[in-house]
Symmetry: none
Subunit: 227 residues, 2 copies
């Protein structure tokens, strides 16, 4: 399941174009967080994606838009800045595997300022579309189009082995528990983000994920002196 | 060399968006065949691609737009109709190789009716973007974005940040030290192998690797009650 989430979209056209793209690439759900534009105007740009627009879900906060999803993927044109672990990114062609078989949210920010650091931190991964370093900032709807196309492309090629939502959840949970045991404060958070991303990006079958979970569980219990 | 050719574009926005995309993905030339819209209006949508728009070449016929190119690639949302050889198509990910080292023209048709059969016949290949069979027709500028992205992607592959041998070694070392702390025997070894593989496969730059090493070191010291 794919849910596209637009956070405070500002342009009528972009919302319309995104609805069309959702139809073009078989997206299941469109969520709009506190839209700043006239959705009635957007219908003009949605063409045969108008049904997606009409059934889109408007919510006041990103938190609510992320409900009931297993994996949350933020997108940004600003990524991989040295010294900023939160902005370490994955590439569009890597996310299809990661999303396979899960309820995935693809989160796109405002046309003007993108997503805040807090919003990025609410997601599991940061997706970045590589482009000309001289001018990497894509228009919102074009970013959506490229990401959805990549996922469609990957899905219509051979399917990969997948990892259950439960396993992903457990990996995240145990990493957090371990991190909480050793962390001395907020400055340590980048270590947690890095570990989570490194691991989630790489998981590709259930057996491997379960083996990792066993290891993480044992580390955690040992840290608590319960093993 | 890549030349994007728009044949009789009808929408100001699309031309502006395409100029921006040309800048985003390092396209060398933009040719407009008999444009049906107001190019001054298009400047508003071009953002930092406005220089591409201002240096675009307006010509009256497709023939002139194809001059001095080695390979000509038409695009269409209508492709691969049984019995129609003209509409046998290639996929976006196949064209980058075909174009490599050549002067290539990528030809996109009108928003309303695309390219005529005659125009397609003037080109060497027909490119088709696969999408939802229920509604395959992409907006013009989104088609351009996806095609240019694919070509950019193919060209820039293999230019990843790298991880030093020392960092890889340290990750392996700490994983082993942690594993030895919690392992109760040989049967546990798969956990170590899985963790190592998951992590090493995913590491992609030195900074991220160093952050992970810090975390692993802290976990290890904590397990030894030295932290």
């Amino acid at each position: 399941m794919i849910r596209v989430v637009l956070v405070e979209p500002e342009g009528e056209q972009n919302v319309g174009f995104v609805a069309r793209l959702c139809k073009n690439f078989g997206v299941d759900e469109l969520f709009l967080v506190n839209p700043k534009c006239d959705l009635t105007e957007s219908r003009r740009f949605a063409m045969r994606g108008v049904e997606v627009l009409d059934s889109s879900v408007v919510v006041p906060t990103l938190d609510q838009a992320l409900k009931d999803t297993d994996i949350k993927i933020a997108t940004s044109s600003i990524a991989d800045i040295p010294g900023d672990i939160l902005r370490k990114s994955v590439r569009p062609w890597e996310v299809a595997d990661i999303m396979a078989g899960k309820r995935a949210a693809l989160v796109f920010g405002r046309e003007s300022v993108g997503l805040t650091r807090e919003e990025i931190a609410m997601c599991d991964l940061l997706l970045h579309i590589p482009a000309n370093p001289e001018y990497e900032v894509l228009n919102l709807s074009h970013s959506v189009g490229i990401v959805l196309y990549e996922i469609w492309r990957a899905r219509s090629k051979g399917e990969r082995g997948s990892v259950s939502a439960e396993a992903i959840d457990l990996v995240g949970k145990y990493l957090k528990l371990i991190f909480d045991e050793i962390s001395k404060g907020r400055d340590d958070l980048p270590m947690y983000y890095a570990a989570k991303r490194i691991v989630l990006r790489s998981l590709r079958d259930e057996e491997e994920a379960r083996t990792l979970i066993r290891l993480l569980r044992k580390i955690y219990l040992k840290l608590k002196n319960e093993y």
